[in-house]
Symmetry: C2
Subunit: 181 residues, 2 copies
Amino acid sequence: MERFRIVMSGSGGQGVITAAVILSEAAVLYEGLTAVQSQAYGPEARGGAARADVIISDSEIHFPKVIQPNVLVCLTQMAYNKFVPIIRPGGLLITDNRYVTIERKIDAKQIELPLYQRVMDEIGKPIVLNICMLGALIRLIDIVRPESIVKVLEKRVPQNFIEMNQKALDLGYKLAEKFIK
Amino acid sequence: MERFRIVMSGSGGQGVITAAVILSEAAVLYEGLTAVQSQAYGPEARGGAARADVIISDSEIHFPKVIQPNVLVCLTQMAYNKFVPIIRPGGLLITDNRYVTIERKIDAKQIELPLYQRVMDEIGKPIVLNICMLGALIRLIDIVRPESIVKVLEKRVPQNFIEMNQKALDLGYKLAEKFIK
């Protein structure tokens, strides 16, 4: 299989680390894959863009850091400005269309989604934006089934929040639907 | 400064990833240090011991994976059996004395703490075992101040759980006190 090198980026508090951990666990526990998830914090982390890396493969992963992601998710303009230069040519860029204005042409498939807007309209809780993003991501890259994500959510999320998380996951999954050929 | 290569291990659901993320954020945001936090999941992750790695330094970190930790925390026997062989000679091993029976002599400083027992006695919620462990860890390695951990908790933990988390942190910090010369 193709090796997925994913960078999820946004601001602190948007839950990109949590989304990255959930994706990794789903891939390993329920899809029989191998994953490495990491965050590197340097001086730029203070006040800057948050970033979480995931590598998913069907074979052993030797170097855990993503240098050039073939999938880049940006939930804020600051994250976009900072990380778009590192995307791998021919990769996939997913942005939130409310917070990110695409400012340059790059050699990548660019998909703008109304993640934040639809989460607020249909669920009303920005805290599940990260799970909505994850729903869109797994629809677009087809590496982990939604039911595997749900199994991880059931273990990690308090009982009374599972339904809201599942709704956010479904919402993202459906938003990405029209970009699948 | 000495570079800390920390592995926190236990079973899935004990929150070692969360503890590792909190420690990393505190080090970077409030101590001016650099940190890399990662988890590598292979086939052995299924049903096995959970592991989260943290490297903390005052300079750039090039290779994010911990090969030989100089600090190893084990919250379960399975984690101990699996990871104790990788501890760096002269390192520090912290175990929970209810769940881990020390079975071999190793070239490391070994500290057994009643983390689980005291969390249950004094707080009654096993969910904060990871924060109690973090309290003990920062007392023993003196790399991040407790108030920096509290600042991260205040951002990450729902308002009504902050007091409980702070209590768990204090408890661990005090449990480790007598091992400090």
